[in-house]
Amino acid sequence: MTTDRSVVRSVLNSGLVLLGLLPAVASAQEATTVTGKVTAAVGGAPLAGATVRIPTLRVGATADADGMYRFTVPASVTGEVTLTARRIGYVTRSAQVNLTGGSMRQDFALDATAVELTAIIITGLGGEREKSTLGTAAQQLNAAELNATRAQNVAQQAQGKVPGVQITGSGTQGGSVNVVIRGQNSITQNNQPLFIVDGVPVSDADRGGDRGGQNTAVNINSTGFDYGNVLSDLNPDDVETWTVLKGPNAAALYGSRAANGVIVITTRKGSGGRMRTELNTTLTWERPSILPDWQNQYGQGAGGAFSWRNGSGAGVNDGADQSWGPKLDVPGRTICQFTSPGAGTPGCTPTPWISHPDNMEAFFRTGFTVTSTVAVSGGTDRAFGRVSLGGDNVNGIFPSNDFRRRTAALTGTFHASDRLTAEGSVQYTYNTGHNRPGTGYWGRNPLENYIWLGRQVDIHALADYQGKSGATNGGPATREFNWNYNYHNNPFWLQDQNPVVDRRDRVIGSLAAHYKIAEGVNATLLTGSDFYRLGIEEDYARGGLAFVNAAYAGGFRFVNDYRSDNNTALSLAGDRRLTDWLQVHAVAGGNARREYYNTNSQQTTGIVVPGIYNPANAAIAATISQRLERRWVNSVYGSAAFTLFDWWTVEGTARNDWSSTLPQNARSYFYPSFNTSLLLTDAVPGLRSRVFSAIKLRGAIARVGNDAPVYSLAPVYIGNANKFSGQPQFALDPALANANLKPEITRSDEVGAELSLFENRVTLDASWYNKSTHDQIFNVQVSPASGFTSKWINAGEINNRGIEALLTLTPVQLPEGIRWTSTLNFARNRSKVVDLAPGVSTIVLGNGLFGDVTIEARKGEPYGTIRGNPFARDSAGNILTDGGLPIAGPFSVLGNIQANWTGGWQNELTYRNFSVSVLLDVRRGGKIVSLTNYLGDYAGTMGSSLRGRETDWNAPGIVVKGIDVNTCQAPPAPPNCQPNTTSVTAENYFQSLFHLIEPYIYDGSYVKLRELRVAYDLPAKWASWFMGARAVSIAVTGRNLVTWKKIPNVDPEFAYSSRNDQGMEYMIPSNPRSVGFNLRIVP
C-alpha cells in the first residue's frame, strides 16, 4: 500500500453524502453524478484516498484504491462549480465543471509536491487541517518516509528527519529511546512528548536502567536492565502518518502533557472496494558499530608482574582485574595463567603470555532480525476495515539475547446510517525480550568485563565454561570457570545461565461514534484505552557476584506492572464556509482521563535449591513491594479558527483542566492559545510569480498548565515490607509534602515562515520560538538537617529559545522520471535555567560513578551542566603536580550536554524504477562524560593507557608537563615554581587521574550515515504476478552505517532511559550497524 491516508472525516462526509442522498437520486429527475479518476501526474499511479469535492456545496468523495471517485449532487444544484482534488503530498488541482444533471466525468492528474504547504495535516483535537491555515509549526512524516529503514523502536525511524526533535537511541538493542522536542522544559519531571495513536493518548513509560528499589531518579550510571520504552510496541507498518506538533502552541488543546510537544500517530484504516493484501518483509543483520580500541601490549597484573594461582589474590596480582602486568608477545615469555595446565596447583605449567586482540569482537555474534507484516483490507462502501499481523524476530548481538514482537491490528469503519458512523481500532502487541544485557556499573553488564579484563585473557576459553566449576583452575567450587574470582563472573555464563525475561501484553483500542448533526457539524464520542501488563523475571544463578548472597544458591527478582490510561471525550466539531470570505473550523469538547498504574515486585538474594526461581524456594524471605497510582483529569476545551478570504486565518483555543493531583483550591487551571497565519502570496495580488509559488507567515502564543506528581500533597510514613525480627517498620517520607502546590505553567511564543519557490522546487519552513516553564513543580533539595531531603515546591524557570528550518530542494526533475530531492533540516536550541528555588543555585540531575562528576541544572546555565574535578592549575593555566602526578582542583563546571545544533540531510534520487535515499544525521557540540575512557585508562586496558609504557611496563614513563608545587617557595618569597621533572609510570599516572574527570569530557559531535536505502520497483506487469499487486519493491537498506565522531572508543549517541540525566556513559554498547533487504508488496 502506498501513502493513501484515510481521512476519517472525508470518508465520513462522503459516505454520509452518498448514503444520505441516495433517496434523493431516486426521486429527482436531474441529479448529477460526478465520477472520475485521480492519478499521479508522473507515472500515472492511481491515488487512493484523494478527496474530490465541490467546496461550495460541501459534497465530495474519496478515491478508492483504483483512484476512482463518485458522488452525486442534488438536482437542485446546477451550473458552473469548482471541483477540487487534493491528496496529501500532491498539489491540489481544481477544475470548472458544469452541473447539468445526469452523469459526468472529471479526471485529475496531480503533481507531487515537495512541500507540504498545501497538505492536510493532523492537528489538535479537531482532526485534520489544511497546513496553509495553521499558525503553528507541525511536520508530518508519511509511512514511506518513516519506514525507509527499520529500527526496533519506531521513534528511532524518525531520527534526523524532523528539525528540533532530538531522538537518542540506546545502544542496547530493545533499549530506551529518549525524545526531546525543543529542549527540556522541566527541571526534574518528564520531558518526553505526548504520544497519541488514533486519538488516544498512549504511554511511553520506560523501565530504563531499572534495578528495582535501588535505582533512583538521579542515578546516571543506571545499573540494571534497560527494558526500553513501551512505544516500541507499535508496528511501524501500521502507521499511516507521524505528525510532530512541536510545542505548546500546536498542542495546547491536548492538555498538560502536551507542553513537551505531541506526536500524533494515525494508523491505516483500509477502505471499501476489492480486497487488498499487503506484505512487507525486512531482513537485517547487525553488528556493533563502534568498538573500543583496547591495548594489546600488556596483560593483567600490577607493577609489571602477574602469575595465576587462584584468581583472587593468591598468585602474583592474580586478584587484580587491571592490565598493568607484564608485556605481551615477548618471545619465550611464559607465565602461569587461568588456562594453563595445572592452573591452581603449585605444579602449574606456564604458558605463552600472548595477546588476544579479538577478545571483545569474539564475544558478540552477528545479530539477525526478521520483520514481517501481512495486512488485508477491504469491505463495502458502508463497512470496511483492515487486519494486519506483524512479527519481529530479533536475534541480538549479545549471546542468547533475543526479542520477539507479535502485533495484530484491526480497524473497522461502519456507516450505520446517513448520520451515524462508527469506527473502531484495536491493536494488540505481545513483546518479549530474553537475556537483555545489563547496563551500567555492575557485574551484570557483560561489557563491563572488558574495562576490567586482563588483556591476555582468551575469551574463547571462557566461552567453553560448561561443566567446569571454578575449582578447575584453583577458584571456588561454587563458582563458574573464570579468569578472575574476585570481581567478575564469566561473561558467557552471565548471559546464558542467568535468564532475564520480560513480557508485555498490550492493547491500544478506541471506539468512536460520529453523528452528523448538520452539514459540516459533527458530534463525536470517542473512548479509548491503552493498557499493558509487563512482567519481568530476572533469575540470578548461584555464584553470581551481583545481587546474589554468596551464602545461598541464587536469587530472583520478579516485577509486574499494569498501566492503563483511559480517555473518554465528547466533542462537537464544525467546519463550514459561512460566507464567500469566511470559513470557520470550530471544536468544543470535554475529556475525562483516568490513569491507573499498579506495580509489584518480589525479590530475594537467596534461594535454597539452585535453579528454582520461586518464592516458595526462597531461603531469605522475599521482599515484596506494591505501589498503586491513580490520576484523574477532567477537561473541557474549545477552539475556533476563522479563515478570511482564504488567506488569513486566526485561531484561538482554550482548555481548562481539573486534576486530582493538585490541592482542591488550585485544582482548576485554564490555558488559552492564539495563532494566526497569513498566506502572503494570496493576500498580496501579484506577489505570486514564477519565483514565489507561496509565502506563508505565521505566529502563535500559548500557555499550557501542568499538574503535580501523584500524592505529593500530604506527608506519609513509608512502610518497610521486611519485618525486623517480626516487628513492622515505618519511616517518615523524607520528601516533604506540600499542600499548597499550584499548577506549573509553560508559556511559548513562536513565529514562522513557509516559502515555496520555483513551483515547489525549493521550499523552506522556518520557525523561531521562545518558551519558558515557570512555577515548576519539583522536589527541591533542602538541608537534610531539616529532617527532610527535599520538599515539593513551585519554583524555578527554564527558558528554551531556538530556530528550526526545513529546506527541501528538487534540483533535478526531468520528464523522463529522473528526480533528485534533497531535504535539509536544522535546529538550534538555546536552553537556560533562569531560576531555581530560592537559595538554590543548582539541582543535581545525576551523579557519576564515584561522586566525582555530576550533571546539573544550574542557575544561569543551559540545562545539563557537567561538573567535576579538573586538573589543579596555576594562574597561567599550567597543571600543578606533586610527586610527578597531577593534583585535582576544586569541583567546578567542566561543560554542558546541550548540543549547539542538530540537523539532518536527506537525499533521494529516483530514476525510473530505481531510487536511492541517504540520510545523514548530525549533532554538533554538546559534551559527553565518558566513564568508559576514564576507567579504561585507570584499568590499563584502553589503547590510550599505553602512553608512558611504549618500551616496557615502567618505561619510558610519563613526565607530566606542569609545575611541581613542591618547588614553589612559601610566601612572602616569590613562588619561583619549577617545571615538573619527575617521571612516573603509566600505571601511577593513570590511576592518579581517579576523581579527576576533566580529561574524560569530550565533544559529543557526530555525523551518522543513519539510513541508506536502494530500492527497485518491479515493472507493473511483473508486479501483478504477486497476488495481483500494484507494485512490488525490493530494497537494500542500511542503518548506522558510518559514524564520524570526536569522542574515542564509544558511540556519542546513547541513552539509558528517557529520564533527564543524560550525557554520561559507561560501557553502553554502540547503536548497532544494520544491513538488510526489504521486500514490499503493495496491492
Binding site: 600490577a302 465528547l570 473541557v636 506519609v716 512502610g719 515505618f730 517518615l732 538541608s783 581517579f994
Partner: protein, 530 residues
C-alpha cells in the same frame, strides 16, 4: 444558519457542564495515597530508625568499616586502599551518611519523641531521646559544629537550620539525657512501652536509664581536656542519676541481628561480598604484645598459614599478622594472603558463643553500641583523675575482663596471664591513664567513630600515623562537611567554618582543641607521619 449555531452552542455548553460537574470530592479522594499511611504507630518508627542508626555507625559504610576503622587503624585495606589513604573519605564519600543520619534516623526518633511527649509517655519518648542523643553525638564527633537546635524542623518551615557550636550541643545533650532518665524512672501508671519494638531492651525502662547515664558519662569524659569541670560534674551526675550506669555486660546496649539474610550483622554482610579488610599492624601489634586472648576472636589466622601452601610465616601456627595501613595498591595486594582477616565471628556460619549473647553465627552476631567495658574504663579514668570514687586499678581490670566476656573469651588462665603481663598490669598515674586509653581503644573494635574520637582525645596509641601512601601527613581530626549542605545550606555552613576553622581533615573540633591538657598526649607530633 442561526438555529444551527444555537444548537452548536447549546451542545457545547452541555458538554462543559457535564464534565466540570464531576464531583471534586472524588478528585480529592483519588489523590489520597493508597500505599502509605499519614501516621504510623511509634514502635515501628523506632525499630526502623534504630536499625538504620546502628547500621550506619557500626556498619559497612563510610562511618565505620569504610572510614573510621581505617582512620583509627583497627583495620587496613588490602584491595583498592583508597579509604585507608583518606582518598575516598572526601565530602562525596561521607555526604550520604550526613544526609541520612538526619533524614532517616533523627527525624524519625524526633517523631517518636513528639508523639510520646504529646501523650505524656516517657517510655516512648525516653528511649527515642537517648537514641537521638546518641546519633547527634556521633555526628558532632565526626564533623564538629552541626545543625542541632534548629534541626529536624523542616515540617515547621525551617529548611536551612543554623549550625550550633559543639560546646552548646554537648551541653544540651547532657540536659536531654538527664531529663529522659528522670522521666523514664517515674513513668505514669500504665505507661505505654515500646515492648518488642525496642530491639535493645524490649522496652524495659531500667535498661534505657542505664544506657542514657552511660552515654552521658561517655560524653562527659570526651570534654576532659577542654572543660574538666563539666566533665567531672556530668560524670558524677550520670552515676547519681536514677539507675546509674551499666552494672554488667547484661546491661550492654547491644543490637541483636536476626540474621535472616535481610538483616544480618553489617560487618558480616560486608565481608560476604568484599574481601578488602585485614587487621591493621597497629592493632595487631598492640594486642600481641601482651598475648591478648582476644586476638583469635578479633582476627583469623592468615590464609597461607591455614592452607599450608605458603607458610610458615611465623614460628608456631596459627599465625596472626597485621598489615600496614595505606599502602599503594600493588603494595597492599602483596599482603592478601599473609595478613589476618577480621575474626571468624563475622564470617558465614561459624557458630560462636559468648556469655551475654548466646550461641551466634556471623549473621546474628550483635552490634555493640555501648558496653560495660567502656563504662568501666570511663570510671577507671574518672577514679584515676579523682572525679569519682573507686579503685582505678580494679575498674581497669574490670573493663578488660568485661571486654573478654563480651567477646566470648572464656579461658581464665589466658586472661589472668594477660592481666599479669608487665605491659598490661595497671601502673597508675599518667602511665595508668595511657593503659586505660589503650585498652579502651582495643575494646572499641567494631565501633570505629568512638575509637577514633577517643584516639583524638588521648592520642593513644601513638602508633596511629598515616600510612606511606596516605594523601596527607596527619591523621584526620574530622571529616569534611556534606556537599549537599554546601549547596543548599551554604550560609550556615560558611558560618560554621568561620567559627570552627577550615573545612578540612586537620581542623580540630571543640573537644579536641586543648590536646596538651591530656596527660597522655605526646604533643604536636601526635598522628603525624615523619
Amino acid at each position: 444558519m442561526r438555529h444551527r449555531t444555537f444548537r452548536l452552542g447549546g451542545i457545547g455548553a452541555l458538554l462543559v457542564l457535564g464534565v466540570s460537574a464531576c464531583d471534586t470530592n472524588q478528585l480529592t479522594t483519588i489523590n489520597q495515597d493508597p500505599n502509605n499511611p499519614t501516621s504510623a504507630p511509634p514502635g515501628p518508627v523506632f525499630t526502623n530508625a534504630a536499625r538504620l542508626a546502628v547500621t550506619r555507625w557500626l556498619g559497612g559504610g563510610a562511618m565505620d568499616l569504610r572510614g573510621p576503622e581505617f582512620t583509627v587503624q583497627h583495620l587496613a585495606e588490602v584491595q583498592y586502599p583508597d579509604e585507608d589513604a583518606y582518598r575516598r573519605l572526601g565530602p562525596a564519600d561521607t555526604d550520604g551518611d550526613f544526609i541520612n543520619a538526619y533524614s532517616q534516623e533523627l527525624k524519625n526518633f524526633q517523631a517518636v519523641i513528639d508523639v510520646g511527649k504529646a501523650n505524656d509517655q516517657p517510655l516512648l519518648w525516653g528511649p527515642a531521646a537517648v537514641m537521638r542523643s546518641l546519633v547527634f553525638s556521633y555526628i558532632t564527633d565526626v564533623w564538629g559544629d552541626i545543625p542541632y537546635s534548629e534541626a529536624l524542623q523542616g515540617d515547621k518551615g525551617v529548611l536551612s537550620p543554623k549550625y550550633d557550636a559543639q560546646k552548646d550541643i554537648y551541653a544540651d545533650l547532657f540536659t536531654v539525657l538527664g531529663d529522659a532518665t528522670n522521666a523514664m524512672a517515674a513513668p505514669p501508671a500504665g505507661a505505654q512501652k515500646l515492648g518488642a519494638a525496642d530491639p535493645f531492651y524490649g522496652g524495659a525502662a531500667l535498661g534505657w536509664q542505664r544506657f542514657a547515664n552511660s552515654l552521658r558519662a561517655r560524653l562527659a569524659m570526651r570534654l576532659a581536656n577542654v572543660d574538666p569541670a563539666t566533665a567531672q560534674a556530668q560524670i558524677q551526675a550520670a552515676l547519681a542519676a536514677p539507675g546509674s550506669v551499666f552494672q554488667s555486660n547484661a546491661d550492654n546496649a547491644r543490637f541483636p541481628w536476626p540474621g535472616d539474610g535481610i538483616y544480618d550483622n553489617p560487618w558480616m554482610a560486608n565481608f560476604r561480598t568484599r574481601d578488602d579488610h585485614r587487621i591493621s599492624n597497629t592493632l595487631m601489634n598492640a594486642m600481641v604484645r601482651g598475648n591478648d586472648p582476644r586476638v583469635p576472636v578479633y582476627s583469623q589466622p592468615t590464609e597461607w598459614d591455614t592452607t599450608a601452601s605458603g607458610g610458615p610465616l611465623c614460628a608456631t601456627p596459627p599465625c596472626y599478622l597485621g598489615m600496614p595501613n595505606a599502602l599503594t595498591q600493588s603494595g597492599a595486594s602483596a599482603y592478601f594472603n599473609v595478613s589476618s582477616r577480621p575474626g571468624a565471628v563475622f564470617y558465614g556460619a561459624t557458630v560462636y558463643g559468648c556469655p551475654t549473647c548466646g550461641a551466634r553465627t556471623g549473621a546474628t552476631f550483635p552490634s555493640f553500641v555501648m558496653t560495660y567495658a567502656e563504662v568501666s574504663f570511663i570510671l577507671a579514668e574518672a577514679a584515676e583523675r579523682g572525679w569519682a570514687a573507686g579503685s582505678a586499678a580494679a575498674l581497669y581490670q574490670q573493663g578488660i575482663q568485661a571486654s573478654m566476656d563480651q567477646w566470648g573469651v572464656t579461658d581464665a588462665t589466658a586472661i589472668n596471664a594477660y592481666l599479669a603481663d608487665t605491659a598490661i598490669a595497671y601502673k597508675g598515674g599518667t602511665p595508668g591513664l595511657r593503659q586505660i586509653a589503650l585498652q579502651k581503644w582495643i575494646a572499641f573494635y567494631t565501633n570505629g567513630v568512638q575509637a577514633w574520637a577517643e584516639w583524638r582525645r588521648t592520642c593513644i596509641p601513638e602508633t596511629v600515623i598515616p600510612g606511606p601512601d596516605a594523601i596527607q601527613n596527619t591523621v584526620p581530626r574530622r571529616y569534611r562537611y556534606s556537599i549537599r549542605e554546601l549547596s543548599v545550606n551554604a550560609d550556615n555552613v560558611a558560618a560554621a567554618i568561620a567559627r570552627q576553622g577550615p573545612d578540612s581533615f586537620p581542623t580540630r573540633i571543640y573537644w579536641d582543641t586543648n590536646p596538651t591538657a591530656a596527660p597522655t598526649y605526646p604533643g604536636a607530633t601526635c598522628g603525624t607521619r615523619p
